[in-house]
Symmetry: C2
């Protein structure tokens, strides 16, 4: 056995995440490792909290990145809020709602599901019916931006409903954070988790979370111990919440945190609202190109996420062959369908650093060539121009789009 | 609020980890992010498994890095092996044995503890007494290398005892892996976890684990569901164990894995046995210097870990002031005591890339100056020369030491 250094190819990442990471963030990863209790590192942690508060639009003191990917952020929310026997209403309109239900069950909770078709947003009417039918429910959990379908739900309305029936809310914002409007305080979200490898364009491995004071009270007031030692907020807070004096809990992923810090500094430089506009603008261009080509969207227009475009694969086209050729010939990654949508859709991401005019045009051109070369039923040679017309319309028209 | 890019200072990391990361590993972190299902990434994952099998000295197919720090590796072992009501004998001779007990309880298990003084190795006689007294025990858990004290236990003997009484074993090798002999197959360890930020000198954030076929059978045969979705081996294996066809479970920490891969390539280049010799050699030098200075070790000689040296703080010396001056004036991090040893010991690490002649001399010189400047009761001006005499003796004398 002789294994040599790994030199990854340079891809263009337009799948459901990870997204293209900016050279500035890659450089930050390579800065010298320091200790997790070093005063300089502790200073960086304080900045990280502020930067995440800005990204989440919250003043929540309990805002930090969990030291593991988004799935662990999800689990942090459930293990801390769900005690055995607790009833949780889980809205399912894709893969990640289903995963939330799994989490409830593994915490010994009782899951009541509100189901919507994949590709549709969560229906507030169905949630209200469930809330009326289950007055003993303690929590409502839903996915703001379903990464498996590209559907966006009306988080503000769903939270308002949950509160009207005295339930706390757990919100999955893995794909929405920094890509589409999300206002934790204004919408009164209680517990929220996200990922770093979507619209923040940092490498995967961390999960930003935020908890309202009301939510923190619930965790402090638990009658049973949190089943996970690693994710127990009562312990993690001794490290992340401790001000100048911090207790060792686990060793934080130092260099990954450098990367996230840099990605958040970039977001702050651009401005959060401007990032939302940029995502909407490039989505409009991509959409124009895809539609000109004859490709259709899975999600109804009003619920479409700009940063994740689920496109129906034309009849007779070989899903895996197309994605394989895009990767081999164009170094371009787009996403496959998940679960019930496997083989039926492609998921084209326009996330964070990858959400650019260059990428929109590159992706449309590559699709045109690969699908055209396979004699797929598309209109050739028009997509890039259609996108360019939108791109040249500028940000103003994007805001109208 | 305007927060700028974070530029960490360049430290010399001689605490209990993270240890100094080699420039080669830092550069690997900065390579372009690719997808977690990219064929090139999957190829790298296969290499990673082989490299970890080498480091652990095992042929276990189920060998991979958990996507979170060592504490999550520990939790992976306990949530997968302990079902509610299972009795687990936990050997405690420091902080991390205590954390194992916490994990057992949070899984609904029954913990029987075998206690030894902090700084001593686990006593096999006491373990055997416990095994006799608890014939219904299912598991024995112990720490091979206690990071809180620097004591090494006789893993081979403890595993042999556990097996004689029909118990599986969970072994904490966070600090031992690649620093001191560890032979998973020869010693017949069933489940083992480690960390990346100790003697592998990769950044923190991943936890290499390995499970024997016998252990994997136990997980497959569980009657209850694993309480953690994120750490459920039955699910994780669909991603890490899947050969060419891999199922998405969570998004792996891509760039951190580049770093670990490079650190393991470096280990393979040096040779595992040579790495053990190097740690022993530099430990002997550090020890000669510390003893010449008049500082004493916490752990009896036969059980001392070369890579983690717990040194008794001399009477009247201000722990925090010394560490603060080492950091500020020398950019040198050494570790504080944990738990019952807080304020009583320093933990001086010689781990992985940080285990070098340069660091031994640098640390001794810095201690000499800082302690001397505080009029601490040490012999001044002799430590570096004492170490140098050992270093010049070369690797041959280190093997005898």
């Amino acid at each position: 056995m002789t294994i040599t250094s790994f030199q990854p190819p340079t891809r263009t990442l337009m799948g459901p995440g990870p997204s293209d990471v900016s050279p500035r963030v890659l450089q930050a990863l390579a800065r010298p490792t320091i200790g997790h209790l070093d005063p300089e590192f502790v200073r960086m942690m304080e900045e990280m909290k502020q930067l995440l508060q800005y990204a989440f639009q919250t003043q929540n003191a309990l805002t930090f990145p969990v030291s593991a990917p988004g799935s662990a952020g999800m689990e942090t929310c459930f293990v801390n809020f769900v005690e055995p026997g607790d009833k949780v209403i889980v809205c399912i309109n894709g893969v990640f709602g289903g995963r939330m239900k799994e989490n409830v069950l593994r915490c010994g909770g009782v899951a009541v599901t509100v189901e919507d078709n994949w590709g549709e947003p969560v229906d507030p009417g169905k949630l209200e019916d469930a809330l009326k039918a289950h007055p003993d429910a303690k929590l409502v959990a839903f996915v703001h931006a379903e990464t498996s379908t590209g559907a966006q739900s009306d988080a503000r309305t769903l939270v308002e409903l949950a509160h009207r029936y005295d339930c706390l809310t757990i919100v999955d914002a893995v794909t929405s954070l920094a890509g589409t409007p999300l206002k934790v305080d204004e919408w009164e979200i209680d517990a929220i988790y996200s990922g770093t490898q979507k619209c923040l364009s940092a490498p995967p491995g961390l999960s930003p979370v935020s908890f309202s004071e009301r939510a923190a009270e619930v965790v402090r007031g638990r009658t049973t111990q949190v089943q996970s030692w690693f994710l127990d907020l009562n312990l993690v807070m001794g490290y992340w919440g401790g001000g100048a004096k911090r207790a060792y809990h686990h060793t934080a992923p130092i260099n990954n945190l450098y990367g996230l810090h840099e990605a958040l500094v970039i977001l702050q430089e651009e401005g959060l609202e401007q990032a939302w506009v940029r995502h909407a603008h490039h989505h409009a261009a991509l959409r124009a190109g895809l539609e000109a080509m004859g490709l259709g969207f899975v999600v109804p227009e009003a619920a479409r996420l700009p940063q994740l475009n689920a496109v129906t694969i034309p009849d007779g086209v070989d899903d895996a062959a197309v994605r394989g050729r895009l990767l081999e010939e164009f170094n371009l990654e787009i996403g496959a369908g998940l679960g019930g949508l496997a083989g039926k859709v492609w998921r084209i991401g326009l996330m964070g650093h990858a959400c650019s005019a260059r990428n929109v045009e590159y992706c449309l051109d590559a699709l045109d060539r690969v699908l055209g070369g396979m004699d797929a039923p598309i209109t050739r040679g028009v997509a890039v121009d259609a996108a360019r017309r939108v791109l040249e319309g500028g940000a103003a028209s994007a805001q109208r789009a």
